[in-house]
Symmetry: C2
Subunit: 201 residues, 2 copies
Amino acid sequence: MARRSDHTREELKESVFNAAWTIVAEEGFEALTARRIAKAIGYAPGTIYNLYDSMDDLYLQMNSKTLDLLYDRLSLFARASSKDEAAQNMKKMALDYMHFADENRAFWLMLFNLKVTEHRSDAGWYHDKVERLFLPLEQLLTPFYGDSQIKERKIATRILWSSVHGLCFLQETDKLILMTNQSSIEEMVNILVETFLRGIA
Amino acid sequence: MARRSDHTREELKESVFNAAWTIVAEEGFEALTARRIAKAIGYAPGTIYNLYDSMDDLYLQMNSKTLDLLYDRLSLFARASSKDEAAQNMKKMALDYMHFADENRAFWLMLFNLKVTEHRSDAGWYHDKVERLFLPLEQLLTPFYGDSQIKERKIATRILWSSVHGLCFLQETDKLILMTNQSSIEEMVNILVETFLRGIA
DNA sequence: CACCATAATGAACGATGTTCAATATTTATC
DNA sequence: GATAAATATTGAACATCGTTCATTATGGTG
């Protein structure tokens, strides 16, 4: 039996989380099971349930971290001092979203594993984190709207964000296979953003 | 033991399919199990495996039907005799896509259940059915492009299709909750199409 | 040292998809 | 019509899953 003085409760919870993270990173989401985690940290399966309510609870925590990482990435492009720069950064941001999805495929896909969303995510802190993802883009769209058009700007933000996401999603799940030309997906993102900005001008 | 002369092999396969379809329609995707189907048609679980290679095989057949139904719906708006009518029909088509997703939520969500796509879908007939979904929209976009811009038109089709899908997906998975205003999602689809068309003009 | 709170355990439960020897039914042969 | 071959159907069994909880091991306290 594992000794319990080796670590605090919080440290153990963290090591469960880290083990889970590594498993998904190295072997994909399908490999993430309670017994697999227990084996990785040298504990019994039951121990995990002393720290997390359920596996869904753990998934939710992992998604939370993924959302944080994504937010941090998108935030890097949020500042712009001119309309032109804003437009350029929007393209960079959209491209970076795709790259993030590509580099962190397993974690990104977990975000859309519906069982987790059905979990009703306690109170709404999870939804708040999702909502927060819109902010960097909304900031870039500010110069394109007047002070009295806050609602229009919010709507435009969500439309463009969803559009880029849709493109990314269909691409990443192999439903967009267009030409043999590999770069065409990045070309499409650029066209999307350019067309959208031309449309709201 | 169920008598085997009650039906041909093909009829039995069909009744498995229909039972599965009903279960998903009435109880959702989570309720769809081999034993549940067997119970519904009065056969043993093993029988299903005489007709389908695996449950994934069955899922794939069900997705195939969903894709057919969706294609039929979108096709209704594919014809237009003027640029204006084409633009109007594009909005109708986009809205209808959302309504389809809403009315057939469980089946529509099954399309994006990744385990199915990972199934690598024999040879490519499945991907062909996905590709076919772009055709109605591509037809409506024809008047907006010249004969020498076939590639541009194809790309635009996929961008707009993905965008509408992205909006629909985030809406249907409760990630877009904007205002209390329920109709705003339909408003967003309209704005999306209008903005896009203005952008390519 | 004895006591107690609690951390850790792992067998057990009810599910899942899937397999396959055994059995029931139909068809073919004499 | 009786018997043999072919085939459809079965359902117990296997490995796996998330989850529970009585039992056991551990660490701190009086």
